[in-house]
Structure formats: C-alpha cells, structure tokens
Symmetry: C2
Subunit: 342 residues, 2 copies
C-alpha cells in the first residue's frame, strides 16, 4: 500500500520548503519558473492531489452537501436527488445522503451526524413522522448554527429558510378541472393516510375545482389508503359504496391499484372511469392503460434546490449580505396518457 503523497514529501524530495511547494502548485508568481516547473513535474509524476480533509479544515468549507430524504426507493425522491447530484457535481460539490425512513428519530440522528463539520449545508424533505409531530427543533438548531438549509416538497411553514415546492394545489385544481371537463360527475380523491402537507394541498385543489363547478365535496368520494400494504379489498369496498367515474390520486401507486381493481370489475378506462395520478414514474408509463399523470419535474426541483443551497453557501463564505429567504415554485405539468379522454 503506497502512502498518499503530501506536500511534505514533495518538499523533502525536492529540498525546498512546504510553502514553496504549495505556492508552486498554485502557480503563484512569487515562485520562480524553474522551481514551479520542477515542482509541478514532480507532483504530476507522483500524482499528487491535495488532501480534501486538510483543505476543508483550513477553509472551513467541505464542498459537501448533506441530503436527508424520507426514502430513496421512491421515484420522486430519486429524481430530485438526481437533480441535486447533477448540479452539485457540476459545481464541484459532493453529495452525502442520509435516509430518514420516514422516522423522526432517524432524521434527527442523521442531521446531527452530518452537522459537525461534514457538510456545508442541507437539502431535505421532511419525514412523515416529523410532519405528524410537527416538531422541527432539530431544523431550527441547524439554521441557528448558521448552516444553510433548503427544504423541498415536504416543507413546513414554521421555519424560515429557502424552499422549493410544487404548485400542488394549483395543479390538483387543474387536474380536477380536466376531469370535470370530461364530464365526470363523481370524481374521487385517493389520498394518503398519514399527514403530508402536499397531500393536503392537493386535496385543497381538488375541492376548489369541485366548488367552482358548483359541486359539493362528498366525503364518501375520498379514499384514504395506507402508505404500505394496501389491500385490494379496501379499493373494492370503496367502489362498492361510492359510485365514481374518475379518480385523482396523490401518487401513482394508488392510481395503478385503483385501475387494476376497476379493470377486474369490468369497468372500461377511460370510458367508464378515468384516472389521473401524481408522479411520472415507471408505473404510469408502463401500466395498461398508461396513466395520465401530474409530472413533478423532480430533477428540476433538485437542481433548483442545489443551486439555492450552493448560492447561499458561497455567498455566506464571501460574507456578502444575506438576502431574505426565497421559496421557488416549480410548475407541475399534466401528461396526457390513456387513462383520460384527450
């Protein structure tokens, strides 16, 4: 195992001082061309690379971004992450990722783990449990310590920081209106059991559209499903008790499962019933019929979040005036596919 080469080695070998080597490698004009050449040649030969850790300690900048998300085996978060990673790498930043697994405790532990110098800032989306408890002291602490933080998608109003969100309510409103325009009279909403601010906002948009069309919001038309372990019988029961001719679903899994049960019951899609789901994942693309979806543009969200964070990190480093926090809104779009009439 060859030891990694350091400035000290080069200095010793070339019989110059460490600072001379350091400057020579930075092409400083304090150093003679001769020496520079000699040092640079030697460094290249031995493939010298400055030790990141030492540089970080000196600069008090790590060029690492901490990402804390509830789940990685989930298409939306995956795409956001992709966007973060893409932009960050372009800017020479690495991404350290921690998964909270929808658990408050894991979220806290992970953030503490990272917030001791390992990272320059956080990008995160709140875990289900955190949203439920509505306890964000760990976030406040991070912000208080001066660590930049960007929240995306699952955000909270209780914290002042940069945020990136989707126009959830508006697009849910648009999606519902699309169904209304198809002539649907009994539009259901399939939503999550646990509390997510985004589900809430989507429900708001749904209600808004119905109201606008002078329709009452019928609670029988709201199908609440658990995050995991969905039993088909739940959906069966729903179809039994509520006559529906369209479903807006807050995610694609619920939509796909509702479609599946509908097909088994002999309902024709989109003639008898039409579907729109949130999230443009694999399922909606390859299902039969393909699912009309609300595309959340995760990659874009990720890029924006990363840009916001890095901008802030770098402006703080330069000691420039902190402008106030911003909330960027990504515009979702509806992708028409076979589960609706177009």
């Amino acid at each position: 195992m060859k030891q990694k080469i350091t400035l000290k080695h080069i200095a010793r070998e070339l019989e110059v001082s460490i600072s001379t080597v350091s400057k020579a490698l930075k092409n400083s004009d304090e150093i003679s061309d001769d020496t520079k050449e000699k040092v640079q040649a030697f460094a290249k030969l031995y493939n010298y690379k400055p030790n990141n850790i030492a540089v970080s300690l000196k600069n008090k900048r790590t060029k690492n971004i901490g990402v804390v998300i509830p789940d990685i085996v989930h298409h939306f978060f995956t795409t956001v992450f992709r966007g973060i990673e893409k932009y960050a790498n372009e800017q020479g930043y690495n991404v350290i990722i921690c998964v909270s697994d929808e658990s408050f405790d894991k979220e806290v532990i992970n953030m503490e783990m990272l917030n001791n110098g390992s990272i320059d800032g956080f990008i995160m989306s709140l875990s289900a449990e955190t949203q439920q408890k509505n306890d964000i002291t760990h976030l406040k602490q991070v912000v208080d310590q001066g660590t930049p933080l960007v929240l995306f998608d699952r955000v909270t109003d209780e914290l002042e920081c940069d945020k990136v969100i989707l126009n959830d309510q508006e697009i849910a409103y648009e999606a519902t209106k699309k169904l209304l325009k198809e002539g649907r009279k009994r539009i259901a909403l399939a939503t999550t059991e646990s509390y997510f601010n985004v589900s809430e906002k989507r429900a708001d948009g749904y209600r808004q559209a119905l109201n606008e069309y002078g329709m009452e919001v019928d609670n029988d038309l709201v199908l609440v499903l658990p995050y995991n372990d969905i039993q088909e019988s739940m959906i069966e029961d729903f179809y039994d008790r509520a006559k529906v001719d369209a479903i807006l679903s807050v995610n694609e899994i619920f939509a796909i499962q509702c479609i599946s049960v509908a097909k088994k019951r002999g309902m024709k899609i989109p003639e008898d019933i039409s579907f729109i789901g949130f999230t443009d994942g694999l399922l909606s693309r390859y299902s039969n019929p393909t699912l009309t979806v609300v595309a959340q543009h995760g990659v874009k969200m990720g890029e924006i979040a990363a840009k916001m964070l890095i901008d802030r990190v770098e402006s703080e480093a330069e000691g420039s005036i902190e402008d106030t926090y911003r909330t960027e809104i990504v515009q979702a779009t509806i992708l028409d596919r076979e589960s609706t009439i177009n």
Copy 2:
C-alpha cells in the same frame, strides 16, 4: 449566525487548557471528577460536538464511504444503495454517492473527486462504458493507493478486490428450467444491447438449461433491445419472425413491454406465453398480469458490500493481516407470480 463551539472556546471559558477539556469530555480518568463534571455540563449546555473534519484529519479516517453507481433512478441500484446506507449508518459511517451515468469519464472524475481523503473506501458497480472499454486503470490506481474497494453486480475479473455478485448464471439456468418444465418449447431471451457481464452470465445460464434439455440455442430467439427508447415495433417484429411461447428477460422493463405487446396481439398469459424477468421492482409487482421475477435481493447485496468494506477499512486501521480478497455470492430467488404457470 452563532459560531460553532470548539474545545478552545470551552477551555477559555472555563479557564482550563484545551487538552484538559478534550480529556474531560472523553471521561479520561486522568481528570478529576470535579473538572469532568464542570466541562461536560458546559459542553452539553452549549451543545458541543467535535468537529468531524478535524477528527478525520487527525485519525486519517473519515467514516465516509464513497458509492459510485451507474444510475440512481433504477430500482436495483436503489435497493442496493439502501442496504449500503442502512449498514453503514448503523456502523456510524456516512455515505457519499456519485452517479457515473453509465459514463466512463464521469466515473473517473467522481472517483478522483472522492479519493483525496474524503472517503475511507469505495463501493461501486461499473458503468456500461467502463465495461465496454474494459479500461479499469482508475480502479487499479485506487487499489494501489491502498483505498479499499468493493465491487458489486457489474464487476470485472481483471481486478483483484472484494466483490459481491449474484448467482446470475445459476438463477438464469433455474428460471429457464422452470419455463422448460412448463413445457415451453420456444423460449426466448430478451437482453441488453450494450455489454454487461451480468447479461452475459444470464445468457449463459439460459443456454445451459436449453442444452440440458437437448434443445438447440436458436439465435432467432434472442431479442436484443436498447437500454432506452424501446420502440414497440422492435418487439412486434420479433413476435412476427419468431414463434415464442416464453420469454426470459434480463430486466423487468423489457419483460413488461413484451407482455404489453403480447396482450395486444391477443396472446393469453400464461397460457400461450409465459414470462420471467430479472429485478423485483414496482413494475413487476403492479403489472397485469403480475410478473414472475428473479429477485436480486439488492438490499442484502448492499449490506454485504458495506460490511465487507467496513471490515476491511477497520482491519487496515488496526494494521491486522490482510486476508485475501473475497467474492460473496448472493443467492437470487424466483418469485412466482401470474406470468408463469405455477
């Protein structure tokens, strides 16, 4: 922005030396109970946490693992990553992730970015391009420098290092035999256009089973598809020119698409044609019919890879004898679902 508190601050405040503080916080018995109490109370009050970067510099250990994978928006890699992250976090390690995007250059850049002190070791799966070029000098360099490296899934025989792989050939053989036992006579293989060692091994298992049943391997029965942008017509053409009654697919997307086209052609599944695909992702679970798959147990692979890496990192730190490199084989299993006769 409150400054992060350091040993120095505590020392100054309490009018003791830095080393006393350091020892007191470590509960060293060199320090009087009085002092320890005082220091610890103060530290807790001000929420002192040692600076990771400084500790890393001192120890020459970062407690960071670098993961380099071809793609994150891909169920298999996502699950492996989940396993890595899980085990690593349990052991107090963070995971830094870089995506090579199937590109050789990005793989090289990412690894250089990380291999300058940021991480204690690598876990990676080769990009498509790297496998194609078969150029692994960047890996050799890493290993030469003494950085532990664990390869998983897409590995290479050209490099001596720890590896975690699936019993690809064997399970493809089993899967094919399952189809043969159903009485299938014209079993096709749907595989990738670009070269992956795993696709190759799966093809070997497929051929082996056919041979065992005294059947010739008919090249007309091999459907080669591109990684992206699959046109339905390719599959249409395939069905036109080759009469098939079963398809083994090296991934789930190909299988789902073949199913979709088969259904459109009025073929009954699994009566007329049956399907098995690699990867137990969402698609196979929610497709119609559900897809019988080879489960690759990604989470387990990830955990094993992380364990191998961390074991090696820690044994090197202790200077213990390096045993030779190991290759762990994860046993895949076949999950029977509706696309085969069970």
